[in-house]
């Protein structure tokens, strides 16, 4: 029999018992909808993380002090911080594959201006920081090399700090106090949003590292060096070069282990991405279980249906249906049931994902491929769980089936 006829037959049979058909489909609807929603949440989270990685900076390489240990914990007995501004200068001077480098010194401190107080992190950086992080100023300007060299007390504010300290006025040109040291605000940074880990990147103050080291930190500790490779494809080579240069700058012998680590932004982001991926997979797996339960529901109802329609099967066989015709009829019916359930579930899931996104502010992304896979899955569920009832139907003895009341 032709597929279109079989589908027509299935649709007629489904319509003949609309209430039961709807209940049968419900399991698949819920299963598919929850898979779609879960994947949408996961995909949304990943898209957001990707966006944040992209605005971390252009082709950024991060150098942190301390040797890598198997446990991943840096430092340890005998190791001490040897990352210095000299290293940064050395890289800036010698590196071929690095377009810019900056030390990062940071300290948390209280901020006050005009009677308002706030706590934030002050980053002492070089002028190249702006390029490396690809961070625009929204108003005002970044500090200059002259200001850096002469330890000027100037700073650039993140959007969150502006909101807290200068809620109703243009901060550029104002003065604020960082640990009682007055700083002139010369610029405001464009909004960056949260990091993958959920930290507010806009809760930040940038100042020349020279000033921060002398006026605020009270130590020469450099938390990290940031460097930029010329291009994305050159990141690995740039990392190798940076490693060699820092070893040289630290005067390490051939046998000495690195007393620092070089990572690129992707490595930093991988962990976050990986966690989200695992989360998505876990949630989808849980959702898939409900799809499976939906499939078992279909099998259940199909088995009941085969028993109820035993006489119909007998009649069809007597009138010339082969066993394979009966098998096909019930299998297609199961597939159509789960297929319609899958369609409805995909529609519901898309709606719920959108609603959830609006309600909670989570990014949810329903990709067409997700819908396609969900549909394919529900059809597979129909085949898998329809097979046994259909086999039962086809295996019935004609004479006994005809006699069945």
């Amino acid at each position: 029999m032709k597929a279109t006829r079989l589908i027509g037959l299935a649709l007629r049979s489904i319509r003949r018992n609309p209430g039961r058909s709807a209940l049968t489909m419900l399991g698949v609807v819920i299963g598919v909808a929850s898979v779609v929603v879960m994947v949408a949440i996961g995909a949304g989270a990943q898209a957001e993380i990707q966006a944040r990685i992209d605005n971390l900076g252009s082709n950024m390489v991060v150098i942190t002090p301390g040797a890598a240990t198997p446990g991943g914990v840096s430092g340890g007995a005998g190791s001490f911080n040897r990352l210095t501004t000299d290293d940064a200068a050395f890289i800036a001077r010698e590196a071929q594959l690095v377009s810019a480098v900056t030390p990062v010194v940071f300290t948390r401190t209280g901020i006050s201006a005009g009677g308002l107080n706030w706590r934030s992190t002050i980053y002492g950086v070089d002028t190249s920081y702006q390029q490396i992080r690809a961070w625009q100023t929204e108003s005002g300007r970044f500090f200059t090399t002259e200001e850096l060299k002469s330890n000027r007390k100037v700073c650039v504010l993140g959007a969150t700090v502006v909101k807290s300290i200068f809620p109703d006025q243009d901060p550029v040109g104002q003065t604020l106090r960082l640990r009682d040291v007055p700083f002139e605000v010369i610029g405001v940074l464009a909004t960056k949003g949260q990091t993958a880990e959920g930290t507010d990147q806009d809760d930040v103050i940038l100042a020349p590292f020279t000033t921060v080291q002398t006026r605020l930190a009270g130590h020469q500790f450099i938390a990290q060096l940031l460097a930029s490779a010329w291009s994305e494809s050159e990141i690995p080579a740039a990392m190798d070069e940076v490693r060699v240069l820092v070893r040289e700058s630290h005067g390490l012998g051939d046998r000495d282990p690195d007393d620092f680590q070089v990572k690129d932004q992707r490595q930093l982001a991988q962990a976050a991405q990986g966690t989200t991926q695992v989360m998505t997979m876990l949630l989808s797996a849980i959702a898939s279980v409900s799809l499976l339960v939906g499939g078992i529901g279909i099998m259940n109802i199909m088995l009941v249906s085969v028993t109820e329609r035993t006489q119909e099967i007998g009649v069809r066989r007597a009138l010339g249906a082969r066993r394979i015709d009966v098998l096909a009829q019930f299998l297609v019916e199961s597939i159509v049931l789960s297929g319609i359930g899958g369609l409805a579930g995909a529609a519901f899931g898309t709606g719920i994902a959108a609603g959830l996104g609006r309600l909670t502010g989570w990014a949810t992304v329903v990709e067409p491929s997700t819908l396609g896979i969900a549909m394919a899955f529900s059809v597979a569920v129909g085949v898998f769980f329809g097979w046994y009832p259909a086999r039962r139907a086809a295996a019935l003895d004609v004479i006994e089936a005809l006699r069945h009341q």
């Binding site: 018992n17 119909e312 007597a318 249906a321 082969r322 004609v398 004479i399 005809l402």
Partner: protein, 250 residues
């Protein structure tokens, strides 16, 4: 396969044994039966005499234990399950005691059902054929009725239309009037006679003498054997209907 001389049915020494536990029930013990085109045969016998077993054999639904069966010239015992399904579709029409219409399915769809399984696509317009068959049984105005909206007599006529629609060589009816009142029985027999007049070969299993009296030949089974087989001068059901007009409308 069929030619002018081949009988519609030729059974030779058909035996059918059922194993029931350790015992063996001989439901048919060497049946020889020849049915020519245009015959109208009643198969009679008490309960347990083997009528249904014989009917299932004729209907290509059951495998005899031994013997040979030619249906319209085709050797049935050599055919596999699929081929017998195809043969049923091509050559047989079935009418059951319980009508066996598909529930919640219109008369028209019920009648069109056998054409769904016609592998040779013999009929260009199944829908038109189904309408035509329904008007042949006098139900042209009941096309979209569901079985539960029809009387017993009407349901059986839908079933007869379904049996007719594929132009079978042989119409098999197992106790077709068993669920009908006596007036409706005569009406249904009138329909069978009319179809037989048009050349259709009809075999009816019945235990009612009244039904057998409308057939041209009476075959009596006892304990799995044919004990009598003789022609009958049939009563005309149409005449009986004219004499006793409908009390209950069907």
């Amino acid at each position: 396969m069929s030619d002018a001389v081949a009988p519609v049915v030729e059974l030779r020494d058909i035996r059918r044994d059922y194993a029931v536990g350790d015992a063996v029930v001989h439901a048919l013990r060497g049946i020889n039966l020849r049915i020519e085109r245009g015959e109208m045969v009643a198969i009679m016998g008490s309960s347990g005499s083997g009528k249904s077993t014989l009917m299932n054999t004729l209907g290509c639904l059951d495998h005899p234990t031994s013997g040979s069966f030619l249906l319209d010239g085709v050797a049935v015992e050599a055919l596999d399950d699929d081929a017998r399904a195809d043969l049923r579709n091509a050559k047989l029409g079935f009418v059951f005691q319980g009508f066996n219409l598909l529930a919640r399915t219109t008369a028209l769809e019920n009648v069109a059902l056998p054409m769904l399984y016609d592998r040779h696509a013999r009929f260009a317009d199944p829908d038109a054929r189904a309408r035509d068959a329904l008007s042949r049984v006098g139900l042209a105005d009941r096309l979209t009725h569901l079985p539960n909206e029809l009387s017993g007599g009407q349901q059986q006529r839908v079933a007869i239309a379904r049996a007719l629609v594929t132009e079978p060589k042989l119409l098999l009816a197992d106790e077709p009037t068993g669920n009908l009142d006596s007036h409706t029985t005569v009406e249904v027999m009138a329909l069978f006679q009319a179809l037989n007049d048009q050349g259709l070969t009809v075999v009816i299993v019945t235990h009612e003498d009244e039904v057998a009296a409308y057939c041209k030949r009476s075959v009596r089974l006892h304990d799995g054997e044919i004990v009598s087989d003789h022609p009958v001068v049939p009563k005309r059901a149409a005449d009986d209907l004219a004499r006793a007009p409908a009390v209950v409308s069907t």
